[in-house]
Amino acid sequence: MTTALLEARELTRTLPGDVPVTLVERVSLRIERGEFVSIVGPSGSGKSSLLYLLGLLDRPSSGSLVLDGEDTRGFDDDRLADTRLAKLGFVFQFHFLLPEFSLLDNVALPMRRLGRLKEPAIQARALELLQRLGLGGHERKLPQKLSGGQRQRVAIARALANAPLLILADEPTGNLDSASSENVRQILRELCTEQRTSVVTVTHDPHFAQAADRVLTLVDGRLHADESRQSQPA
């Protein structure tokens, strides 16, 4: 068996309180490199909570998560942040672009924070990503000048800025029309096939879920089904 990009073992997330609430319960899964996985399930089933755990945005109450061969259990907040910056990319239902920054600066922000590239290289890569996502010529515009679908593509470009190993997308088409949704779906699909970037999406959209290699169904915080749609990438 090859080493998985991400391996979650018995992940559980419980919110403490007078009446503890379990959001995710004993979920184990593997995400291979270049794999496109959709997480589906009814509202309140714990899909987003699982995504936040996989994206190192939240800490599990129990269980472990190994990303790119590193067990993340002992990571402090800063190391988790550094890992997110270097290895993960996020796309949310709301684009969350910084309104004061141009598209170019929004996409350049993670690269500037990481500091691996010099400024001319950062600008060139940001421009290339925007062009690849069909936003060439708009790079100096502010986000509020764009349509919802365009903004979501900028958010994807920003998620790709540091060439992450894994893109985590939470309802990325939740606020988009069908044409824009299809566009986003194709972009994410291409990332998997062409760049071997793994993608995990949470979605309510059955059509969007069909684009995935695997569909995980979550019910009441537990993994209910794990169905492969296409042949696993090599």
Binding site: E100, P110, D170
Partner: protein, 414 residues
Amino acid sequence: MSVVLSVAWAHLIGRKRQTLVALGGVILGVAFFLATSSLMRGSERDFLQRLVDNAPHITIYDEYREAQSQPAALRWPEAALDLPRVKPQRENRGIRGWPRMVEALRQQPGVRVAPVLNGAVVLSFAGRVQGVQLQGIDPEAMRGVSTIESKMTEGNLDSLNADANGIVLGAGLMKQFQLRVGSTISVVAATGLARQMKVVGVFSTGNQGYDEGQAFVKLQRAQALLGRENRANRLILQLDDVQAAGQLAPRIEAEWGYKTVAWSEANQDIMALLVIRNLIMYTVVSAILVVASLGIYNTLSTVALEKTKDIAILKSMGFHANELQRIFLLQGAAVGVLGSVLGLALGALLMHALGQVQVKPPGAVEVSSLPIYWGAEQFALAAGFALASALAAAWLPARKAARVHPVDILRGAA
């Protein structure tokens, strides 16, 4: 520009109106802090300057700080002694051997000394009487320790040498008695001795109490009138270095035994009053800056609240908590620094304008400008306090931003 700085800058620019209001508060706070403080400090320094110019830097009195002990008490310090009916020895009071003391003190560099015999007398003229302090002086020596000569409106101190029966009076007394230079006035001492003396000079210090309560005659004339031949009961010292008075006075007292008082000790109550005045002044002007810092707090709190989603996305992207804290502290610092720089410039303009205001204090002969202190430490204090207030105001929003948990925000936004 660093990422943190660029985000901080974007937040400030993104809320121009609130930023300008906060900035305006700091500018006005710093400017008024500076203008008020410079005026208060200027008036204080002016007051102290007048004090040290017009009053002796050190005065040696013909008395002792501690009552002298009886020889029996010195011989048997542990004994329970009862010495009834002890009376002070009758003597012609004054500083013993003052000419020798004056000579010794004059040997010290930067020290000028003048002997004075001071006593109460009554002036009488045309049926009107008035008690005054008569100062027997050596005009030549007095010129070196007092500014009284420069306050003379008619005659001079040398007139006392020219006429042995001459007297110099204050402008207030001249007015009360309706005298003119050349008039003769009766001077009666407590001993009962009386002299007719001729007014040879008039001074006006602007201090009503002084101008109506002091009279100058030659030392020998005062000694004869007060029945204290060859005596002086005060030595007045003026120093080149005013601040040295505090150290020199105790040394003189230790050497000669007579009570020796420096100007700072003599005016302790005034000095204490100045400290309290400064305390009140700095409290009030600091309050202006504290209110201004509330403007910064208000602006940054609003930014922190409105930008919660941005903060969450920055954190999810990989920004550290301390970087988010720095974003807000930098915003506070930027408003503080820019506000301080512009506030100092405005404050300097206000100080210049205040310095142009002409006033004529009561009793003063000449019109003078408001005293403004231009010391660099005030500029540093105003800017430092403004910056500290700005950072303190930014600290709470910064801490709030650093504590944002992205999942809480992302879950709420979904």
